[in-house]
Subunit: 375 residues, 2 copies
């Protein structure tokens, strides 16, 4: 069964389909929406090997001309050089403004392909075909696209909405369990932002989600709906969209301090620890009750996610390094720290005047041998 | 006296000031609009030498912090490498989203700086301070920004409107006469698109324009107003904005066939010849009377612009090469040629079904020894 979510953005509204077999059916859906269109598939070498042929066969069947541009898998492909390669590839394929870029892959491919589409001929349309859980519930919804710069991640890019998202849950079966689990941290995040009922539902249904039962598509759809609602209210992140960063300021600092070494810590794992830290810090600021902190921590631990800094393998991280990364985060406004804090389960809000000293003191506590999670 | 034109684009509306001494007064204007802002001046080495100090002194006087990023002068700077350099420079200067990029220079600087601003932190605001006539009447108005790709010029970019344009007519005095004259071709173009009265006014006042009299600022203001009106009606070039390409399909082919060699032909000169060719071709298609063709040709010749292909120095161009460039132009829709043709003085329209054979036959006629302009 296919779930559908609509992102209501006026003329730029688009549909998110969620279900099994959507890659095999992509040609039919695309040609119904855009008769006569030609496509460029932008993907990475791993995803191409797993799903490229199925997508190409589907386009062939629908009579859609296509070309494939593949980049090496992994975060380093979100760079200027690959951006240039993909844009030039789209131009050499002689795609016209009305043609489509199909971003087939995880967050890296979606961000890179979307950004390339946004600037090719000053704006080509693109379709997201996310193949990781993280991309299905997060990066493929909302229109943030971009690459990394030496000064930091995601600092170069555009707000460019897709015209369609096809989230094929069948593709998730080929993911390594660790990556699937990491994506789940973002699913839980939507409950913790402002949907306590959804968090409660996840507490009950997470086993079925991890067993690829019908709850999986339902959880993805609920996540997309939650994100879409926030994006619609604040497309270009002037205000409320910042709520989506719950747990992320800590997460980015953890990733940075680990040198973005995926062997130690992948993004979703960092988010899981970041979510717990955000709740603990809120508790320390007398905003959030201790029971909620325990509940959040327990659920993430139950599905196998790390929940404390000490869970990260490798050299010990120190509080000063983490604080430095936090101060460099994009979410700094004229020198003051902006954090998403919470007043309880699903009651997060934007705090834009968090004293850096409090954060440092909190992290120092967390990183002393006795400074463990409440749980 | 400063002329003012407003580009009405709702929330993204902006003001174009036109007059002498605006660079010296920039700091005051910027700080009035954005108290507390910091700026990055993006410029080229020549313009920096001519006007950089005046702009920096003005910013200093207004207490505005600033940094300068300069690129080599000339079209080759509209490339991926300089794009990367400017974006990284803006990030290293730690500019925040609310800070400003000041594009000080001609069309190359404006296109490059505007594109860099549009993608830095997914969108920084920028101010155009155009220092060439071409940039003042054309590229700094309308929000088209971008760089060139191996596949063609301006194929990579964004629609990104400035928040303010300061067109300092004093800066034009330092331009080589040839460059000033080339910019005038775009001024005349606005009359020929849909403002016959303005063209007639230019016929009477061009001497004063070239003598830097008060008619200069008036001509620039009228041009900006004309362009703004078309841009407002069609910001992202889905329809009527194509009228701005009057003469440009031929012009781009001429520039391409000359290998973009500015010693032989600069853009405005190509536009002058392109305008005459568009009128001649319209006449050949029985759309435009011969008197209008003569009148257009006479006026452009009077101010010293080239008006026929044979005016271009160097090796003879041939019709097949030109036709090939025309077929490659961005303005091709599903294989059919889109041209801006005209039914008389200031009566241009979009013809989207021009037969390529007719164009080739026309160019062959033009390029036989006897195939000269009507005039």
């Amino acid at each position: 069964m296919t779930e559908t979510v609509t992102v209501e953005l006026g003329k730029r509204s688009y549909r998110i389909d969620i279900g099994a077999g959507l890659i095999e059916g992509a040609g039919e859906v695309v040609t119904a929406q855009r008769p006569g269109v030609r496509c460029a598939i932008v993907t990475d070498d791993n995803v191409d090997a797993a799903h490229g042929d199925a997508l190409r066969a589907s386009l062939d069947k629908a009579g859609i001309g296509h070309t494939t541009l593949s980049v090496p898998p992994g975060e380093p492909s979100k760079c200027y050089a690959m951006f240039e390669k993909v844009v030039n590839g789209l131009l050499e394929a002689r795609l016209e403004r009305g043609d489509l870029v199909l971003a087939l892959g995880g967050g890296v491919v979606g961000d890179l392909a979307g950004f390339a589409a946004s600037v090719t001929r000053r704006g080509m349309d693109f379709v997201q075909i996310p193949t990781s859980l993280l991309a299905q519930v997060d990066s493929s919804v909302g229109g943030k696209t971009g690459i990394n710069a030496p000064a930091g991640k995601n600092l170069v890019g555009a707000f460019h909405q897709p015209v369609l998202v096809l989230a094929d849950t069948g593709a998730l079966a080929t993911l390594p369990p660790r990556e699937f689990r990491a994506g789940y941290a973002e699913v839980a995040k939507y409950g913790l932002i402002d949907r306590p009922d959804f968090f409660q539902w996840l507490e009950k249904n997470s086993d079925e989600v991890f067993a690829f039962g019908p709850a999986l598509a339902q959880a993805i759809a609920a996540s997309c709906r939650a994100k879409a609602e926030i994006v619609v209210a604040d497309e270009t992140e002037k205000g409320q969209r910042a709520l989506l960063n719950l747990g992320h300021t800590f997460a980015h600092a953890l990733e940075g301090a680990c040198g973005y070494d995926g062997a130690r810590l992948v993004h979703g794992e960092a988010v899981a620890i970041g979510l717990v830290l955000a709740h603990e810090f809120s508790n320390r600021m007398n905003l959030c009750d201790a029971d909620t902190v325990v509940r959040v921590c327990d659920h993430l631990k139950k599905v196998g996610l790390p929940t404390k800094i000490g869970d990260i393998p490798g050299p010990r991280l120190d509080a000063d390094t983490l604080s430095r990364f936090i101060a460099q985060d994009k979410k700094v406004k004229r020198g003051r720290l902006t954090f998403i804090l919470t007043k309880g389960l699903g009651q997060s809000y934007i705090a834009d005047d968090v004293p850096p000293d409090e954060v440092l003191a909190f992290l120092k506590e967390k990183l002393t041998p006795s400074g463990n999670n409440l749980s």
